[in-house]
């Protein structure tokens, strides 16, 4: 049985908003990073859904590249969190607020 595209859209929207909620409310930097991952994967769901909708593999290929980029981003992000910890002795994002007025 073929699932209609709207439901994939709905699923992707839900995952994206969960990820966004995590970015907006969580204090731990690692959880912050995980929420960003969630947002990226929500986009991936959309790509694959529409690849199936239009019968073109471009969407699936592109989502592969998105995943590769997400991995690269996490690598650099973990490095940044390391430096953050060194400077602020904590990975709480609410503590790192020196770049202000």
């Amino acid at each position: 049985m073929v699932v209609a595209a709207q439901y994939y859209l709905l699923l992707a929207a839900a995952v994206f908003c969960i990820g966004l909620f995590g970015v907006l409310t969580r204090r731990n930097a690692l959880v912050f990073l995980m929420s960003v991952e969630l947002m990226l994967n929500a986009a991936n769901i959309n790509f694959v859904a529409f690849s199936h909708q239009y019968g073109n593999l471009t969407g699936q290929t592109f989502s592969l590249f998105v995943m590769a980029l997400a991995a690269a981003e996490v690598a650099v992000g973990i490095g940044i969190i390391l430096v953050l910890y060194r400077n602020f002795k904590d990975i709480d994002v609410t503590k790192a607020t020196t770049m202000r007025w």
Partner: protein, 101 residues
């Protein structure tokens, strides 16, 4: 404490509002019959052809050779970057502050 938690969760309302919006839009959208993929075609084979830049896939797909190489470079860069960020702390001194010691 619950008041403080409530204040922290206030930004999350944006995520909830966004979900409601996206759900409204996607639930109300109408799509045609999904094209889907032919039953006997290999998806992975198609993706493989796209990555290397050859034609020969049964399913229509675009040429992703340039993107493939670009992603390879980006992953290399991310690797070096994260190692660099991690290394600065191991040596114990930021190269920028090395001159003062």
């Amino acid at each position: 404490m619950s008041a403080g938690n409530a204040r922290r969760l206030l930004p999350g309302l944006a995520a909830v509002a966004l979900f409601v919006l996206l759900a409204l839009v996607s639930a109300g959208s109408v799509f045609t019959e999904a094209a889907g993929f032919p039953a006997d075609a290999s998806v992975v084979e198609g993706i493989g052809y796209a990555m290397i830049g050859l034609s020969g896939s049964a399913i229509p797909v675009e040429n992703f050779l340039a993107v493939f190489i670009a992603i390879a470079l980006a992953l290399d860069a991310a690797l070096e970057g994260s190692i660099l960020l991690a290394q600065r702390g191991d040596e114990g001194a930021d190269p920028l502050e090395g001159g003062e010691e």
